[in-house]
Symmetry: C2
Subunit: 313 residues, 2 copies
């Protein structure tokens, strides 16, 4: 299935793996890239040396294109941005801000730059700054979210910019990829489904929570601090939501309650104190598979859907 995205990134299938902080490492990214999609390493809050180490590991595992997700609010963003240009990584995706100031050095290094956007205004800003494409992410996704849903956001972003648009949020199978293409996107980014990839090193408790989730198993917290985040409902999210609704609970105390909670879920599988980020389609994710099986299933599923829809005409 060739689209503008596969052409732009020189990949086989229009499927990106989200650069999930604390989760998306070289092993997962390389597995997705080897499968013909685009694996993405998360640079999260890490320093340039750690990220470079993951890039080196990824290159040892695959010679196919991969990406690095840069969290623009990271304290190490300057050094990481410079290192990525040095390393000439094939693709950079960015989150939590506008990547304008780094696009020039990245483009000069031959890097394709794909900012994640949650509104048409940010998409236009990214296009003006020189982005090669944008990833329009709906609020059904896991982790940090915006306000618009994928169904509403994607066509509006497609109409707002002339660069390719990747859809993210609420996509877990071939139906989602086909729907994204129908909305005018040229590919998808998936996070939640890759959480249960065999090559994904999150705790078994994390995978269990995703596999057991139903449609209504996620909750959004963090609106009071201006950083809404979607996670699987647990005793922890219930405590957080209660604290958030309590005016006597200060913003500082709330901030403190969040610190380390994702890492506790990912590394320790701490069912009590961990925050298990996941999207609304966790309810559709029902088995652990290799990254290659996931990519194949999504692409084959989309082809089946398109064949079926072709008969409607």
């Amino acid at each position: 299935m060739q689209t503008k995205l596969t052409q732009l990134l020189r990949i086989e299938h229009p499927v990106l793996q989200g650069g999930m902080a604390w989760i998306a490492d070289a092993a997962l990214a390389a597995a997705v890239s080897e499968a013909g999609g685009l694996g993405i390493i998360s640079a999260m809050n890490a320093g340039a040396d750690w990220v470079r180490g993951e890039i080196v590991k990824c290159r040892a595992l695959t010679d196919k294109p991969f990406g690095v997700n840069v969290m623009l609010m990271s304290p190490h963003v300057e050094e990481v941005a410079a290192m990525l240009a040095e390393e000439k990584v094939p693709v950079v995706t960015t989150g939590a801000g506008s990547p304008g100031r780094y696009i020039k050095i990245w483009k000069e290094a031959g890097i394709k730059v794909l900012p994640v956007v949650a509104s048409t205004a940010f998409a236009k800003l990214a296009e003006r700054a020189g982005a090669d494409a944008v990833i329009a992410e709906g609020c059904e996704s896991g982790g940090h979210i915006g306000e618009l849903t994928t169904m509403a956001l994607v066509p509006q972003v497609v109409d707002a910019v002339n660069i390719p648009v990747v859809a993210a949020g609420g996509i877990a199978d071939g139906r989602g990829l086909a729907a994204a293409l129908a909305l005018g996107a040229c590919g998808v980014q998936m996070g939640t489904r890759f959480l249960v990839a065999k090559e994904c090193r999150v705790s078994s408790e994390y995978k269990k929570k995703v596999l057991e989730a139903k449609d209504i198993s996620t909750i959004v917290t963090g609106r009071r601090l201006g950083h809404p985040v979607r996670a699987i409902k647990t005793a922890y999210t219930a405590r957080y939501a209660k604290a958030e609704a309590d005016e006597n609970f200060s913003a500082e105390a709330l901030e403190e309650l969040g610190v380390g909670s994702l890492r506790r879920a990912v590394e320790a599988g701490d069912a009590e104190e961990g925050c298990f980020l996941a999207g609304q389609i966790a309810g559709m994710v029902s088995r652990e598979e290799t990254a290659a099986e996931i990519v194949q299933d999504v692409v084959r599923g989309a082809e089946e859907v398109l064949e079926k829809l072709g008969k409607l005409r």
Copy 2:
């Protein structure tokens, strides 16, 4: 474009017009049905006589199938439900609860029953109660909303039930219809786009607000009372949101603030005190057209999308 929905409801196009309270009257419903979609009259909180009057008017304007949306929390729901069975209206859609207790008399009268659902649990409940299909409505829609988005909800409902599924929320054009079909739905329900139909009698101020809306122009209020509602951001919604966040503002006072606000938007076009319900795709709705033009544009647009996607295989 024939689908299970067009067969079930004996309509030409798989496009339903949402039964919007204070808005969806006989004139709008008849225009949509005449165009080959399914127009739906809102019974809202009205008594049986008023609703019967609209049915009579609708039948005078079209001999094609149409529907009535029953708000199950209406104080007049018993008499309205009985009257609909007497009138043998072709289709009933229901909102705000489970229609279980009325399905028997409606089915005996030959009425097709389509509950609006916001989760897989409610969809299964509706199926067990005898519903002919369900309308899975995502939270990007205008008016009363659930938590799941259309992209996440529709495939999960499709997997949960064996009856046909109609997608609603975030759909404004042929791309949305094509995407809904890709997700496994057999048709769509649209509200916001029909707000600006020439046959829709909302105030010119209401239409202006929809036509001028951008992607980020809507807001959700009412979560504190347990009845979240999406509307276009105005001075009124800002006041409501502020009151809602203020613990000293009682639930009763909040309730009072909401009373009559939709009607003031619909009838008087009161930009100060009106509540202009609309979905996130208001940003895509840019011109007033006849209902027939809208239905044609959506269906033709979807056919174009399917043709284009067919070439990807």
